[in-house]
């Protein structure tokens, strides 16, 4: 998918992105295209407006029983949270004397002990351990998926955000938003085997660069890269071609050096 090669095809992908039907990887590429192209950004905003308007037709009457139950559940939680929040904010002293906390803990311990005993009595310990292991593994997997999804969501948001700063560079754009920096390349030359692109960052007020991530564009020269640095401390970024695995200092003339002013 080159940005120059088939512009109409890319503009159609902009419509798909506005409607929200692109898979993650393709969405990132289209976001990079939009970040690099004013006309695409204007069309995206227009089509996204039409897509957002679609939400209006989703409104469904909720039957009164369900509606009341949902509201009751939610408001109970919110009121309790609001009360707890206001207590915390007012820093009120504990309502119970310290010795009562000890009694409470002992009671809680007794309850836990009796629960454990019951479980042992019915000989479910083995099953429980297996279930716990599976649950733990599942939780790790879910947390990982959630982290990736949140990261993708943030990248896509940042690349298209109206308040992001954009710096044109060879083959793409450097996008800076708040404390985050991204490279959105649309046509990087594909490198021979054994070579990678490497990002470099120079702290504010320094001409010394430090090594950052290495990356490889897709076969069409497209890459979206999030730099793991605090943008507020960075004065300039650069990219060079390095041996696979990266270098400690640039070994070739940089593809670009861009002060972030």
């Amino acid at each position: 998918m080159t940005f120059d090669g088939d512009r109409d095809r890319m503009m159609e992908s902009v419509a798909l992105y506005a409607l929200g039907v692109l898979p993650r990887e393709e969405a990132a590429l289209v976001a990079a295209f939009i970040a690099n192209d004013d006309a695409a950004r204007a069309e995206y905003l227009d089509l996204r407006a039409a897509a957002d308007a679609l939400a209006h037709i989703a409104e469904e009457p909720v039957d009164s029983g369900r509606s009341a139950r949902m509201k009751e559940r939610l408001m109970a939680r919110v009121r309790s949270d609001a009360a707890a929040g206001s207590v915390a904010r007012r820093r009120i002293a504990p309502a119970y004397p310290a010795w009562l906390w000890g009694t409470g803990l002992a009671a809680a311990a007794a309850i836990v002990f009796s629960v454990v005993t019951v479980i042992q009595d019915v000989n479910l310990r083995g099953d429980l351990a297996t279930t716990q292991r599976r649950t733990a593994a599942l939780q790790v997997q879910l947390a990982q998926n959630d982290r990736i999804a949140r990261q993708d969501r943030r990248t896509l948001t940042d690349l298209l955000a109206p308040d992001a700063k954009r710096y044109d560079v060879a083959a793409g754009t450097v996008v800076v938003r708040r404390d985050r920096i991204y490279f959105a390349f649309s046509k990087l030359p594909v490198l021979p085997k054994g070579r990678v692109y490497q990002a470099w960052v120079a702290p504010k007020g320094s001409k010394q660069v430090t090594p950052s991530v290495t990356f490889t564009p897709n076969p069409d020269g497209v890459a979206v890269v999030a730099l793991p640095v605090d943008a507020t401390r960075v004065g300039a970024v650069a990219v060079s071609v390095e041996p696979d695995g990266g270098s400690k200092a640039p070994t070739t003339t940089p593809t670009f050096v861009r002060p972030l002013t």
């Binding site: 506005a18 407006a49 679609l54 209006h56 909720v62 559940r73 969501r153």
Partner: protein, 177 residues
């Protein structure tokens, strides 16, 4: 101004009554998105709870613009999360989340109502309307849309683009920036 925006300003100040009004005004929209995308009233109910709890616990996630558009996107992203976690579709068929920021100007979208959108949608050729509705509420990718409607991928793309442009024109200045 979108009434949701005014209520969110009060929710930020931990105003429970404002939150309740927000819920009364928008829970049918969130529930409807959940129901259409998940196809199950109980899951739609859970999604509605989750979305509004999130609004209560992190109201600063709303950074202005149209509240309707924002809360719809939040609901849609939550529904995608639910589809992922229950593995209703393979991961490859589930689209990327929608960005939550950069929403339309609030008073513009606030003037678009459901009937006007239905009218605009009704004016589209059926093949465009079907793809756009399934795309928005189906929680599937364009490849899956092509498979489900037995339509070539290129045609799906062209129809969605043309359909969204016609919708934008039909809604006129109400959704133009």
């Amino acid at each position: 101004m979108d009434p949701g925006v005014r209520l969110m300003e009060r929710v930020l100040a931990r105003d429970v009554a404002a939150f309740e009004a927000l819920y009364d005004g928008y829970h049918r929209l969130v529930f409807g998105i959940g129901l259409r995308m998940l196809g199950d009233p109980t899951m739609a109910e859970d999604l509605t709870q989750n979305v509004f709890l999130k609004i209560w616990t992190a109201p600063d996630a709303f950074r202005g613009g149209s509240f309707v558009a924002w809360v719809s996107r939040v609901a849609r992203n939550r529904a995608l999360d639910a589809l992922r976690s229950k593995a209703a579709h393979p991961e490859s068929e589930i689209p990327a989340d929608l960005p939550l920021e950069g929403a339309l100007d609030d008073d513009v979208l606030a003037r678009v109502d459901a009937q006007r959108v239905r009218d605009a949608l009704a004016k589209l050729p059926p093949e465009q309307r079907g793809l756009i509705e399934l795309g928005f509420f189906g929680g599937v990718t364009h490849q899956e849309l092509a498979r489900r409607t037995d339509t070539p991928l290129g045609t799906v793309k062209t129809r969605i683009r043309s359909g969204l442009k016609r919708m934008r024109d039909a809604l006129g200045e109400r959704v133009s920036r």
